[in-house]
């Protein structure tokens, strides 16, 4: 089996084992997050040897050319020597504000580090310095804001979210790297109707995308739907109303799956509620964020309702209890 060389030491890699798993087995802990190739937390560089193509899927051409690859997706086919990705994309930020938006969602405002560029709707990977634990959170702020805003969903037994909610204090610093993700507004065809639909903290990137589109001069209708299991899971109703009052092209609608609902909210499964409300989605540009299973369901329903697959941008969140 091919060996992996890292910081001058050789480690054996078993059949069907990824670089990340192999090193973990040997007690070498690389930064990692989703373990499924989406967060790019475990991006490393091949100094010698060629990483399999599959381990570079989703990386920019510029990174591929520099032999970057994802350790969690790399089952090496030949001897490989690796190095950690340049730390130049890592940033440090100070907590400005912590505010509970409902029972389980915490808003965290951070200082915006110099040189950090992003598109509204992208996500960053927070890294806990004590143990290199990494989790991805979408940005709810937009590029012209002088702060960064995240919405943290408290996950039962979630190591990062509980730490962020309970331990991390205003004034503390935290490091992150990124941005990542391709669910963001591109200024093109400003009259096109937009559909933004999300569940839970999927509202964070959508709130950013809506503000970004408005700021970019989007004139077509922007339909934002934010959904939750129960009415208590909704948040930002006032902020969204204020935004919609200010900009006529924006329409915000809450949707509750079960139980009591606010007066103007829709009820039932969000994908069906949206299709019932908007009808034919031909010609729409669609952004979908939130829980992975609901995101998939929405993708499917909106596609069947006429949205082109090319015009659907989705960001499915993975919530990681204990992991």
């Amino acid at each position: 089996m091919p060996d992996i060389t890292f910081e001058g030491i050789k480690y054996d890699c078993a059949t069907d084992e990824t670089v990340l798993d192999s090193l973990t087995r040997h007690g070498v802990l690389l930064p990692s997050g989703c373990r499924s190739g989406s967060c790019h937390a475990c991006k490393v560089k091949a100094v010698k040897g060629k990483p399999p193509e599959a381990s570079q899927t989703g990386l920019k051409d510029t990174l591929k050319a520099q032999h970057y690859f994802l350790a969690c997706m790399c089952k090496p086919e030949e001897e490989i020597e690796i190095a950690l990705a340049d730390s130049s994309e890592s940033f440090s930020s100070t907590i400005i504000e912590k505010l509970w938006l409902n029972e389980t969602v915490l808003k965290i405002k951070l200082t915006r580090p110099d040189g950090f560029q992003y598109q509204a709707g992208q996500f960053i990977n927070l890294s806990r310095s004590s143990d290199q634990l990494v989790r991805s959170y979408s940005l709810a702020s937009i590029a012209s804001d002088d702060f960064l805003e995240l919405h943290i969903k408290r996950v039962p037994d979630g190591r990062m979210s509980n730490w962020l909610c309970d331990e991390l204090q205003t004034g503390d610093t935290i490091s992150f790297f990124g941005p990542s993700g391709s669910c963001f507004y591109v200024q093109d065809n400003i009259e096109q109707p937009l559909l933004l639909a999300g569940t839970g903290t999927g509202l964070a990137p959508l709130y950013g995308i809506a503000r970004d589109a408005i700021q970019a001069g989007h004139t077509g209708p922007i339909h934002l739907f934010y959904a939750s299991h129960h009415a208590e899971g909704l948040y930002y109703a006032d902020e969204l109303k204020a935004l919609a009052d200010e900009y006529a092209q924006l329409n915000c609608t809450a949707c509750v799956l079960q139980g009591e609902k606010p007066a103007a909210a829709l009820s039932g499964a969000v994908d069906q509620a949206v299709v019932n409300a908007l009808g034919d989605l031909t010609g729409f540009r669609v952004y979908i964020c939130g829980d992975a299973p609901v995101v998939e369901q929405m993708q499917r329903s909106f596609f069947f309702a006429g949205a082109s697959m090319q015009s659907i941008y989705a960001d499915a969140f993975a919530f990681t209890p204990e992991g």
Binding site: M309, Q310, A314
Partner: protein, 122 residues
């Protein structure tokens, strides 16, 4: 000499066929499970490659890719010749609904048919 790809209208025609084709197969419970995936956009991208090839357009598929890319469907999900026939029928109806002539449809189906052994790992 005009190729099938040119006669059919080039990449724009392929692009126009992707959504209707993918909707057809997803709506067909007999074959939909082979096309469902965590990443629908990626799945649609694969159909784009396949249709481009069936239309005689530029593609990077090799028989080996076809074989390896579908092997897990054959081995784990029971993909077989009747499913393959069903897909060809969906290609046929997609093209017909877009106004492609019977003659060109026959040509496209012949190209798609040529991948049968590789797709089914025969």
């Amino acid at each position: 000499m005009t190729t099938l790809f040119e006669k059919i209208g080039g990449q724009a025609s392929v692009d126009a066929a992707i959504d209707p084709f993918y909707r057809r197969v997803l709506a067909d419970p007999y074959v939909s499970r082979f096309f469902e995936g965590v990443d629908m956009a990626k799945q649609a991208e694969k159909q784009r490659g396949f249709l481009t090839m069936a239309f005689g357009g530029p593609h990077s598929y090799t028989g080996k890719d076809m074989r390896e890319g579908h092997r897990h469907l054959v081995q784990n999900m029971g993909l077989n010749g009747t499913h393959f026939d069903q897909i060809l029928a969906h290609i046929r109806s997609t093209l017909a609904s877009l106004g492609v002539s019977e003659e060109l449809i026959t040509e496209a189906i012949a190209i798609a048919e040529s991948t049968r052994a590789d797709v089914l790992d025969l």
